[in-house]
Symmetry: D3
Subunit: 182 residues, 6 copies
Amino acid sequence: MASHHIVLFGLLALSFSLVLATDNNPLFDICVPDPKSPGSKVTLLNAQQIPGLNSLGISFARIDFQPGGINPLHLHPRGSEILTVIEGTLEVGFVTSSPDYRLFTKVLQKGDVFVFPAGLVHYQKNPEHVPAVAYASLNSQNPGSILLANTAFGSTPKINTDILVKTFLLDKKVIRHGQQKF
Amino acid sequence: MASHHIVLFGLLALSFSLVLATDNNPLFDICVPDPKSPGSKVTLLNAQQIPGLNSLGISFARIDFQPGGINPLHLHPRGSEILTVIEGTLEVGFVTSSPDYRLFTKVLQKGDVFVFPAGLVHYQKNPEHVPAVAYASLNSQNPGSILLANTAFGSTPKINTDILVKTFLLDKKVIRHGQQKF
Amino acid sequence: MASHHIVLFGLLALSFSLVLATDNNPLFDICVPDPKSPGSKVTLLNAQQIPGLNSLGISFARIDFQPGGINPLHLHPRGSEILTVIEGTLEVGFVTSSPDYRLFTKVLQKGDVFVFPAGLVHYQKNPEHVPAVAYASLNSQNPGSILLANTAFGSTPKINTDILVKTFLLDKKVIRHGQQKF
Amino acid sequence: MASHHIVLFGLLALSFSLVLATDNNPLFDICVPDPKSPGSKVTLLNAQQIPGLNSLGISFARIDFQPGGINPLHLHPRGSEILTVIEGTLEVGFVTSSPDYRLFTKVLQKGDVFVFPAGLVHYQKNPEHVPAVAYASLNSQNPGSILLANTAFGSTPKINTDILVKTFLLDKKVIRHGQQKF
Amino acid sequence: MASHHIVLFGLLALSFSLVLATDNNPLFDICVPDPKSPGSKVTLLNAQQIPGLNSLGISFARIDFQPGGINPLHLHPRGSEILTVIEGTLEVGFVTSSPDYRLFTKVLQKGDVFVFPAGLVHYQKNPEHVPAVAYASLNSQNPGSILLANTAFGSTPKINTDILVKTFLLDKKVIRHGQQKF
Amino acid sequence: MASHHIVLFGLLALSFSLVLATDNNPLFDICVPDPKSPGSKVTLLNAQQIPGLNSLGISFARIDFQPGGINPLHLHPRGSEILTVIEGTLEVGFVTSSPDYRLFTKVLQKGDVFVFPAGLVHYQKNPEHVPAVAYASLNSQNPGSILLANTAFGSTPKINTDILVKTFLLDKKVIRHGQQKF
């Protein structure tokens, strides 16, 4: 799978406002490598990037994993996600909500499908020494994405240390150390 | 892409009714070759097959195309579809609703993404001499599927010939010929 | 029933943006005779024509049938329809989705009511030698309408012949003949 | 328009649970003359009476008006209503919500259409000396109906008189008189 | 509870259009004493007043009751209400829809919670000789509010007397008396 | 505010399945002190506890804060929250989603109102030396609740340490220390 861009064609908002391209070039090509992301890259197509998705209630993401790469703990506040492994192997997991906090994990091979319910915290990991690729669809045109650590440690401005200390029950020194990473 | 089954793991209806399997075997494996389908095979996962999808508002399908194979004119009455080409090349198209009936077509390569708005008639075709594979997600747990020809010519019981004659403006003999094919 | 126009009064988008007319004249009067329609005329009121319907989730259509007239196979991608016979007699039918494709038909007299589920293909026919009239309401302010034959044979541009041949399993010559009618 | 019953055919909940009758007799025939109704009779079809309407989001009512008859002030808590005059003439009106309380009225002739937004108080009156008939569709399978006077004066048990006195700013004697009517 | 204003902070429409104030002053302070309200004052925050509530589907009201004060019969056309007593005691009630018109009443103490289903007519009364305060949340950003008496007697223009006479089955003189109060 | 239980009366699923209690006793009284919660106690009423809330789309929670108490970082996967301070003072904050991760904070006094958008991570803290009380309503009958730390460190079974290390960019030793606290 050499092509690392995502191309989205043929969208229209209902049947009257056309945004379709008429040539073979990609409408756009977003590849935002995140230096903090430990070994994965998420390329998302949603209604903010593509006005034609406005009324269709669906969006799409491609996730590239380096060997051993991780898409760390995160959630989508406005959408369920259905994920398919396109290349390689993925270990995936999600945690149910209070009061159970049950963790469900699975090792997915190429062609396997998995569903992450809306708003639940989840992750994916490539456990092998070769790259992996997954495609994800979400049932919202603007599902949103929240990385747990960026929210807790990397917000602008920072969350007060005492809130984090009492959230994670960790030393203030450890919390400050975490904040410096983001 | 040798594996031709679809495996769906890890579903749960909200966070309290668990239906997850705990072993590595696929929960189910549906491969319904349709003898009338001209060169394509659709394998669908929806909420009727998997109770856990009940409250998640999303479903999934894998479509395998033989060389030159076609997924003929059809629509989904309850869901938009986002399609990704996994292997090979696909020519896709959909037609907008009355009064425009605009046809939009595109040739998609591996990795390309396309969206079919809810309820609109569309098709996919593999124009090459090698197989193609696509994955599709729909933003409903029960999107439904309606093949135009099966509806018009293959219903049980058959639609009266005069309705079909006046729908398609074709000779009664042609209509009867079409009905015999389904 | 001599009056052949439809008049829609008294709409307002929520309770603050008023679009009400203050005189007795009709707000608009749409009568779009379709030369290709085999004996029926659909007059539709939806939110594109009437901004006040924008937030109300409902639309309306009047269908006039000549003796023997047919409203041919079609569907509404975004709405269920409830139909009432106002004058004369109507034979109606719809086909369920895959894999059953069950046809349900009924002969309706004046005053009878019938429901067509959202997105399913249906038709109406006046089997008598006198005109018939029906009123239809749909639970969407923009339900859309898709005539099967216009979509298959009459789009702009035309759908490739081989797609149609494999959709309907008919000869290329027959398909081209059908395309010339639209 | 001699037939005073309503017949509803052809319902099915999605495409798998069929409730269709196979003969020509009406599935049911509800005619509930309300002795307190001042000259009108509402015959409603909703999802409680017809399980097939469960997933279709639409319901239907026929309203028969005697000469001078009134369908008094009422509202539907869960649905917008689109009304068509089938026979005779109707004066209709609705009042917007706080703080405007604007009254919109219109005289409708046979064939005219009017929309009452969800939850707003409205009425219909036959101002002529011949009967009138209207058909109404609502965009909910269970829209509900609330007559203002039955709610205020005719509940079980009765609302305390002081609440009614302070609601309507009328004498306690008048309120008690009103309560005795219901 | 000396502070009689309501302050609403921190709203944002999704996560990209920020409307947050950055100082400690209240964003707004609405106190609309209604001279006709018999002893209660409703202060409502909804999406018309606060653009940030537009996509959040929730609104809020504070209700202050004088000793013996009443929030008279009213309904919200687009939202269920959950009410909490903050100070004092409240007698509350609502009436179900046709055909039952069941009245449910309850005496609530400080800290008690009660739910009024969407679109149903309800009231609150302070039965004690000290003030009472309640907070209400509604699951719509624009739930609307309709006072029964203002709708029936106080619309602009007035509803015709004969409609009111046949709605409430009261003398024309009484109806005109009621209309003069609003 | 001496009474520390929550009482919910008067619920009914639509207008026909009644679950109302007829006496003055509370329907239920849930007070689940969480030994790990750093100084706050959440008492939630939702549709799982009260069947009558099933169709009403709203739920309620009372939150009691000890002096200096914190309701630590958490989110509700299926609902926006509107919070009112009933007693004391609260410092509140929430973080927007990727890519901004903007933190919004505010100090709320008694009577102030704040909204937390659906699915976003937020917290509340009592900064004073006296107790504080807040009431929260959510626009879902089953909004769910996810504490960040319980999800990351306290799930059953535990999330693999390497996932947490790469999520929070902290030492494995620190992560294991965090896991032991939950």
